[in-house]
Symmetry: C2
């Protein structure tokens, strides 16, 4: 039912508790894993790349729904997960919902892999 992962740490400014830079605490591991888990699905990765590839930097569900061979409800579900993971933002404008990448979210994640 209700997802249990309540936590959002919207912005962990603590740039990186890098995976390769010292032993991760329990909390750090959970926070990082939550974001990696959100990217651990092909459909969600394609959603991210579709949004990133748009000219305006955002896309509405109607477009994404056409590109991915998934039902509208499923696409909405995936987008919600990406928002909750702090990777996307949702902006309602008129009739449409526009999704855009959270600036720096990917880079922060990337930096957690290098250090």
């Amino acid at each position: 039912m209700a997802t249990e992962l309540t936590v959002l740490e919207p912005v962990s400014t603590s740039c990186c508790s890098p995976v390769t830079g010292g032993v991760l605490s329990d909390a750090e591991a959970r926070s990082l894993a939550a974001r990696f888990k959100a990217m651990g699905d092909p459909s969600r990765l394609r959603l991210l790349s579709l949004i990133a590839a748009t000219e305006s930097g955002e896309a509405c569900v109607c477009d994404l729904n056409e590109s991915l061979d998934l039902s509208q409800g499923t696409v909405s579900h995936h987008l919600g997960i990406l928002v909750k993971a702090g990777l996307l933002t949702r902006t309602k404008r008129g009739q449409w919902s526009f999704y855009a990448l959270v600036p720096g979210a990917m880079s922060t994640l990337a930096r957690a892999l290098d250090a």
Copy 2:
């Protein structure tokens, strides 16, 4: 169900810019997602960080098993997943199995997040 009537291309349908450009292919998305999924678990992230933090760059199950509050079988299971994902290597030496990071695996993943 689908209406047969020829539609008129309503002008207002252009709600957003067309999604084009470098989108992930199905295979690319699956390959990337598999690796991210492997990192989408706190226990596995801690395993990675524990191994990365070792002086020699490798660790055996007995050490890791003590650091994570998990059964030996579970640790072995997680390590197997990380090996299968291409993030760790396994080397049997005598009585022990030593796990080490695959050089460059993390960086490659990190680079996939920046582009």
